[in-house]
Amino acid sequence: MATTKKYWKSFDELAGTPTAQKLAQNEFAEEIPVEDFLGDDNALSNSNTSRRDFLKYLGFSTAAATLAACESPVVESIPYVVKPDAITPGVPNYYASTYFDGNDYASILVKTREGRPIKVEPNDMAAFNGGTNARVQASVLSLYDSARLRQPMKGGEAMSWGDVMSSLRSELKKANDSGKEVVLLTSSIISPSTKEIIAELGNQFTNFRHVSYDPMSYSNKLDVWQNILGERALPSYRVENADLIVGVGADFLANYTGQDVAKAYTDRRTPGKDMNRHIQIETQLSLTGSNADKRIKVKASEHGAVLLHLYNTIAGMKGGTSLASANLPEEKKTMIEGVAKELANAGSKALVLAGNNNFAQEALAAGINRMLGNFGTTVDTNTPVYLRQGDDKAVASLIAGMKSGNVGGLITWGVNPAYSLNGFAEGIEKVGVTAALTDRIDETASKFGYQLPVNHFLESWGDYMPTSNVYSLAQPTIRPLFDTMQGEEVLMNLAGIDGSYHAYLKGFFAAKVQMAAPMLSWNTVLHDGSAEVPNMYAASEAMGTIDMNAAASAANNDVKSAGEMEIFFYQKTGMGVGNQANNPWLHELPDPISRVSWDNYATISQADAERLEIATKANSMGAYDGYTVTLKVGDRTLNGVPVFVQPGQESGTIGLAVGYGRTMVGKAGDNVGVNAFALMSGDHYATSAEISEISSDRDHGFACIQLAHTMMGRKIVNETTNDVYMTAAPQEWNELPLFETFKGKMGPDKVNLWEDHDHETGHMWNMSMDLNKCIGCGACVVACHLENNVPVVGKEEVRKHRDMHWLRIDRYYSSEESFAADEEKVEEMSGLWGENGSLGGFGELEKASENPAVAFQPVMCQHCNHAPCETVCPVGATVHSKEGLNHMAYNRCIGTRYCANNCPYKVRRFNWFNYKGNEDFADFNPSQDEYGKMVLNPDVTVRARGVMEKCSLCIQRIQYNKLEAKKAGKPIEDGQFTTACAQACGTGAITFGDVNDTNSAVYAAKNDTRAYHLLEEIGTQPSVFYQTKVRNTKEA
């Protein structure tokens, strides 16, 4: 198509002046003096120096100059001037502390080296929540986040603390004098001393309100339990007492009330007659659901009706009063009745846990638990848990107040409501004074007048009361890196309390805590991290005030028509609610179920994907591509949401993880994924959802690290049922492959061509992975990442399967309804074609079932004692040790990658790039960040480009602890130390130790009937072995 547009460079050109025309003729406005240096042909041809000569001289002089300039660098060594008594350079110190970010609570040990925290470990002296999940493990990197705000700001200008505080004080006073409300919006506060400071702060204003806010709200649950407990708190769950656990949409192993029940749960997963049984009824395949013995898919909106039907059926069996009949299809009702029967049989040893943030569902679950007599056994109503404090009603009234202009001053602390709370951002403008106590200029702080940087928790003091009988302390392990202030101290300043928070806290401890618990000393609690105190809770009788009939009708009303789509919002084990969205370790950690990293996405069922023609597909590079869609709930829309097909997803539902889609969190986390909070309003699911604007092709790339999702009937995860385990001979369910030899049938440990290593005279390090206890949470993966300085490679590289995780947790789906059925199918195959033909049969086995059984299997270097990698290395860079380890000498490796190709377990990782220097990785690789590199473990090499690396079984810890034993002059005790993964594992799935020590736990594990080696038949004789997974399929 012709155009009449004319493009011009200057007015002269447009006007067509002669100068412009002349200039247009010449490419260069000025003459270039080419002649001066090339024009004299004569001089050039007569010159003795030809071009070749010139290059020769250049090359020689460069080489000579380089050689002459060679000299060793001066390395300085700068000791302390006055060395602190506690520090010996090279020796780590450990400090007990507490992690609480409003979402996760953990009692921790902080490992410091030369005064800088480098690792967070679980505290085995914890009085409550001694385990660490992936987020707590990763939290140490958030300290060294260079996106943190480094000095106080007012209106975009840096200011001193003195100025900014006096300005804020006077502005707040003005707001107060004008009669408007002053509001403090915080995350859940469980610190008794902080509550006292907030009360003091309230006294400064005539009209003050403190509002607690949880991004994933539990407000309606709290309302239910307020009626029962008389206190706004949730009960403690005693999962260890439960023979049967029924979770209805409750992801209680990963993200629930904040109470860590995974250890109690897995302690009862030891096979035998005491093994618990777990039934999960849920929408989306959660971490908890994937560990269940039986899983039933229902929509989130049906959870209420499911609970109602459970209630009614159990009431019928127990002779109680039934409520209104549940609004559920018959086939679902039948399934629920089976569960109800099991619950009734389990009596008071059962536990029903409801998910979501729904009053009716929680009330019905509480009703069932009470009816079964679980109060006092599995539901502990005497020690309330305070970890969730958010109040939806108060938050809603705050937003209304903001919008109507009634809020004169707003201080936020530890929350980011402009990101996670719909309607908040619109109200900010009408608030007079806004101050954010924040760690960075995030979505909220950027819209606020004052930005006050607060200390990271590793720089802070703190006290916590997670339950009514536990008191814990947090202590700083490093001086503030930036010009930040402890959040409490800012509030103290506003409240007119003088002195440091540390002094205040000690005063509070002496005055209040020791008053109630005189046996506690400050130093003891500080040393141990936490202590049990006399129970502060006084029981009350109030159950009657819950209207169960109203709950029943509300539950029935929730059920929508079958065709309607709905969205279920969930938290990933890595990202949670997004508090650490700039933490690259958590982005790189693959989701335990979908195995996708660096993303969130709409999970849908295979059936829905086929109906809408939006199925995910692997491309020729072995990476998944998917469509993007627009999701719509009411008048809220979210564009560009990638769609990922997820087995186990209930049809008609979409799962969407929160915590992603941050825009102002930092280089690593900005614009990763989409913000699910934009569609959310209080509850954890939204009905009447629509999928629209499906993209024309698969325009979204997923960084999914697993493509083979089924085991094809092989014994990779060996699995059996509890009944078989208890009755049958081990050879029947844990078969050792045998080979025909001239000496008769022999196992793979006997049939070999190799000479054995001497493993008798020293240690022999072995590791046992109990597949019954591994819940797949990924804490070990993050722990390994930071212990071993594993590089973060980013989404594009993960997509190319170049992820560097030394430890991965493989997740397998069954193709049939169970893994046993898969095996049966393989056994029944005959011939290539036909109904039982292997060609078609194996094709079918590649596809995961619509509601698959799931198995997790952590795989790291198996430390084969007949290692295939060692024999193919041309330079002897990977060699075996007497202690059963497969060593990897990085400085010897020349990068042929033969070893990785010959590794049957695919656990070797190759450094394709110089991750610590290549600018492509600068945005997210901690070792490239000025502050981030401080987190590196100084005892482990940071590997260079072109070398292979892999799990070393934490050889730095082995060597360190052997030396500690030698220094003390005594043998290594079993349990004296363990690997990073085993230490991080909250459920005790990983046992590490010396099998030459016959008293060790790992020796017992090795001789357990459940023990087997991965791919045993290939005769690699690994030092790592697995314990057969046992499911409790017996209906109680």
């Binding site: 060793s72 060395k83 020796v91 020293g762 060597q959 030459n996």
Partner: protein, 465 residues
């Protein structure tokens, strides 16, 4: 018995007890090796106006060093007053009473005693009731009349002068030899040509000669190849040693490398400037301070640790100079008020005149130049060798006690490590750690030495991870 000496009130600092403990340890271990230093302070001077005090000054010197020198000097204030000529200032009886039990003496109300006690801020001097009158007399005789004895640190074998010109001499010798060689060649060529002329043949010029050789070489390619290889190998050899000389592999400090590893006899290693001219020879050699006293973390940690300045101050609170002189009689270590020791004071903020730390002083770290640099890919742990392996420091670091300037004694290459691991026996009998393995090891290697190699000391992963 030394414990009593140190009941002294230090300047009010948080590390006070640390100082006290460390100092006591030091004194226990080394029987006050510091004292020779103190001695130097009074080397000259007092004899002239000395009052005659009965007693054996030589015996008194020993006693003084043992009991007094940690707090007193002869010519200047330390923790206590200067004692040179104290017999002029005080009655002998007064001195006896004070020395034996100053507490009761003060309690008796002696105003002078109380005054001196208060002048020194109530620093408590221990009681010496166990010293006989004769011994005290000897000490006093010594303070009044110290035997003059200039102290010179022996410098090892003295080498004749002109050593420094050695290389120049060699160069000249080479030039002269070369000239002689050329003359010889010229003579030979002339003689040959003369012979040719005598025989009636044409004389050959040097140029023609050379072209003949060139022709020969062109014809004999085999010889040419061998020659080329020899030259190339020689060249590569020279290049290799040149590069080794750069010392990157040893990671040496300033400009020098471990090649050549040891200074020539009689010469000191020259590695450029350390921020403080610290002499291991003086500290570890003359004063026989144990390595672990300053490098205390070597026993506990992977690093031996350069001592922090507060460790230096344990002694240098009292020792602020040295009168040790060299051959020519010049102060060898900076003299009475050593500017080098002053650098420590500048780092920590110590006022050498007031004998007190300066309030609110901003500490200035000392930036030492690191001599021993292992590459990051090798993990080395001092505690493993010092505590578990019971290896002497000198085994790897050489005669540190003879080094004025520290240098890298061993190559620190992997071959060097491996050799030692092959030869060194493990303390399987004495360390309880090896108890569970001991019998198995003995059974397997009966009769043989159980070396580090045999327990896996050559495996890659023991040092590289």
């Amino acid at each position: 018995m030394f414990r009593g000496h140190l009941c002294v009130k230090f300047a009010n600092r948080s590390t006070e007890s640390y100082h006290l403990r460390s100092l006591m340890k030091n004194l226990y271990r080394f029987h006050i090796r510091l004292i020779p230093l103190m001695l130097s302070i009074f080397a000259m001077g007092f004899a002239a106006n000395a009052q005659s005090i009965e007693g054996d000054a030589a015996a008194g010197e020993k006693l003084f060093k043992t009991y007094c020198a940690s707090c007193h000097k002869l010519d200047s204030k330390a923790i206590g007053p200067a004692l040179g000529g104290v017999t002029d200032r005080r009655e002998t009886d007064w001195l006896y009473s004070w020395i034996k039990n100053n507490a009761t003496f003060r309690a008796s109300g002696n105003s002078d005693a109380i005054a001196i006690f208060e002048e020194y801020n109530g620093s408590v001097m221990p009681q010496f009731e166990y010293l006989s009158d004769e011994e005290i007399g000897n000490i006093l005789a010594y303070t009044a009349n110290p035997p003059a004895k200039p102290i010179v640190v022996s410098d090892g074998p003295v080498v004749a002068g002109g050593e420094a010109d050695n290389s120049g001499m060699q160069m000249w010798a080479m030039i002269i030899l070369g000239a002689i060689f050329l003359v010889l060649v010229f003579i030979l060529a002339t003689v040959r040509n003369t012979l040719r002329v005598v025989k009636g043949e044409e004389p050959i010029t040097v140029v023609e000669d050379a072209s003949n050789y060139a022709k020969f070489l062109r014809k004999n390619t085999g010889f040419m190849t061998v020659l080329t290889i020899v030259v190339a190998v020689a060249f590569l050899n020279v290049t290799y040693w040149y590069l080794m000389d750069v010392g990157v592999e040893g990671g040496k400090g300033i400009e020098a490398s471990y090649m050549p590893p040891h200074p020539e006899p009689g010469q000191e290693a020259q590695y450029g400037e350390q921020p403080i001219a610290f002499s291991h020879k003086l500290h570890a050699g003359e004063n026989q301070i144990d390595c672990n006293y300053c490098h205390s973390s070597a026993r506990h940690s992977k690093t031996s640790g350069i001592p922090s300045a507060n460790v230096c101050m344990n002694c240098h609170m009292y020792v602020n100079g040295s009168e040790i002189t060299d051959e020519a009689g010049n102060p060898k270590y900076g003299g009475e008020r050593s500017p080098e020791i002053q650098k420590i004071y500048d780092a920590v903020g110590w006022d050498a005149d007031k004998l007190a730390y300066i309030e609110g002083y901003e500490e200035k770290p000392i930036r030492w130049v690191r001599i021993h640099n292992l590459p990051d890919l090798a993990y080395f742990n001092h505690a493993q060798h010092v505590t578990a392996g019971q290896v002497e420091c000198q085994t790897c670091h050489g005669p540190v006690e003879e080094m004025e300037v520290m240098y890298q004694y061993s190559s620190l290459t992997m071959g060097w490590c491996i050799n030692c691991h092959r030869e060194t026996e493990v303390k399987v009998n004495t360390n309880g750690y090896y108890e569970p393995q001991h019998d198995k090891l003995v059974e397997k290697y009966h009769g043989e030495n159980i070396t580090v190699e045999k327990i896996g000391g050559l495996e890659c992963g023991k040092c590289h991870y």
